[in-house]
Homo-oligomer: 353 residues x 2
């Protein structure tokens, strides 16, 4: 048969997520998972869960969970959409706002899924290069401000730094389209863009439970925006996109605020420790507001890619993004103190080889 | 702001799933859920599940589950893709094969999600009307056979009848594109299209655990096809589209063959009982191969829509699809014997009102 596949799909490569090694005993610092367990209340939920309920479809509107989210962020249920991970939310907004004639704007480097999603829609990407310090350039091109959707990863990935909130505000004010603040890492940061929601009805703030709630395994992301935006997004989402157990687990996890704060606090402490240790070894470390650091090794030693491979051979996984700018760095998830010690120990060993 | 939404999205209505009433004590025969519990092994799985694992992303390739599926159907892991419900699979194939220049073909009536998915892609629908008995017409239009993808719901929804396998074979042979056999209900039928996979490399067979495994709540669908087709579909699927618990639950449920067979056997018995009882009341009942029946009330009594409303007022939910042909019928999920008795009792009551 002649190919029945759209040329955009046939011609593209899929998104490549970080490796998920199956063997045990590896130190896994490559996909920004949280090294600490989620709320202990989940154990009780699972023990008491009646599996008979699984015969029924989940609530397609996720009302219970949306109410918990709405209460937490002082918005209304109609301002919240829930997704099968925040990738689902990104998928939905791209399908809403991008096609052959409607480009997607984002900074570069940022989350490498954006161009893959744009490509599937046959949409052009307007890439705005960050400056030398991975900061937003002084002048943002008009083409980006005219795009139907402008994705801003804040804190940024894979660089870890946050952009001044005033710049996000400026983009919301100047943009002719939707500004999508991808705040996957915002719980680890000093501030976030939630308060801008009251000022700008073209802003979407997107969050995930994957990192700060230690729940990457349940797939739960959500977005908050004006009712008009949520209404359009709800049309595109799969009716039953979030399974029953995930809805239940997310609800109780989000209500366990004490566990959440402690968890995030420890990650922030460990982040400072990891950054300091790397700097002692001569690494340049981008100031991180996330649960990972982006660091480039000293020029007189092995390259970032070499270190990545050497670490992997010793069963320590970090993330390496090829490319002229990103390829000089390693992205290292903030782990436990033990994991950090192991990593630093190995780096020191490589130094003296 | 000028609307940043694609006109396809702004101008459309979302898919409307069957009602999911939140109160207890309703007789729910409207969304083809299975009235019996899933495998008892799930209880043990949940009790023993270590929630710490939820901090990690699920396997993006769902290898363990795909191997179980592959073994069950005597294919290779590379022939299987797993989705967040079979709606996710439908979504993926539509994004692979449909756009402004690539239409989607399907019979009418069939699953009402197809045109919604096509619309999101800006794709034209080639609707092939079923004949008076909801059968495939003798001559299938060339336009449908030239479409990049032709969706065949078998057994069909909402009508419940199955099409002769020879007709599916004919479509596979004549079609210039992919033939998507949507077999959501095939476990309740006398036969299925799996054996055609060996003959036609343009065929996809899609299944779900929602109905026959009593697991609508976990969201698990899968498709089997040639390696080349699966490879393209894998590019479009969300990296982490199936959560950890769903992967684990699906695996053990699919391995519990004894429970599965008993469950399906009981539904088939109850289906015959429900059909017979409806016929006694003068309903015309389409011969069903699914876990629901499609039945039109006698012409001298209340209309299908009136009965739907009356039943709802008595807290018995069945599904009503407006439209010239479908609107003369009710789609009634096969429930427990008690639920069937309750339904028939009410219908008899309405008759004598």
């Amino acid at each position: 048969m002649k190919t029945p596949f759209r040329k955009e799909i046939a011609g593209m490569s899929g998104y490549v997520p970080g490796e998920q090694p199956k063997e045990r005993g590896v130190v896994k610092l490559n996909t920004n998972e949280n090294p600490f367990p989620p709320s202990p209340r989940i154990k009780k939920l699972l023990d008491g869960f009646d599996p008979t309920l699984l015969r029924l479809y989940p609530d397609p509107e996720c009302s219970g969970l949306r109410r918990v989210i709405a209460a937490k962020f002082a918005v209304r249920e109609a301002n919240v959409i829930v997704g099968n991970g925040s990738d689902d939310i990104l998928n939905i907004i791209t399908r809403c706002c991008a096609d052959k004639n409607m480009p997607v704007a984002f900074f570069e480097p940022s989350y490498s899924l954006y161009p893959v999603l744009a490509r599937m829609q046959g949409a052009r990407c307007i890439k705005v290069p960050l400056d030398g310090n991975f900061s937003i350039p002084r002048k943002i091109p008009d083409a980006a401000l005219s795009a139907p959707v402008f994705m801003i990863t804040r804190p940024n990935a894979p660089t870890g730094n946050s952009f001044p909130k005033s710049r996000v505000e400026e983009i919301c004010r100047k943009s002719k389209g939707i500004v999508f603040a991808d705040e996957a890492y915002a719980d680890f940061a000093d501030d976030n863009c939630l308060d801008l929601l009251g000022k700008f009805n073209n802003l979407i703030v997107c969050r995930t439970l994957s990192k700060s709630y230690s729940l990457a395994g349940i797939r739960l992301g959500f977005a908050i925006a004006s009712e008009g935006i949520i209404e359009q997004m709800m049309k595109v989402k799969d009716s039953y996109n979030v399974c029953r157990l995930t809805q239940e687990i997310a609800k109780i996890a989000m209500l366990d605020d004490r566990h959440f704060r402690k968890n995030v606090g420890t990650i922030r402490e460990n982040r400072e420790n990891l950054s300091a240790e790397l700097k002692k070894l001569g690494f340049e470390v981008v100031d991180s507001q996330a649960n990972f650091v982006f660091a480039s090794p000293p020029e007189d030693g092995p390259s970032a890619h070499e270190i990545y491979l050497k670490l992997k051979a010793r069963r320590v996984f970090v993330r390496y993004f090829p490319g002229e700018r990103t390829g000089r760095h390693l992205r290292i998830t903030v782990g436990t103190r033990d994991q950090i010690t192991r990593l630093i120990h190995l780096l020191r060993e490589f130094e003296s080889e």
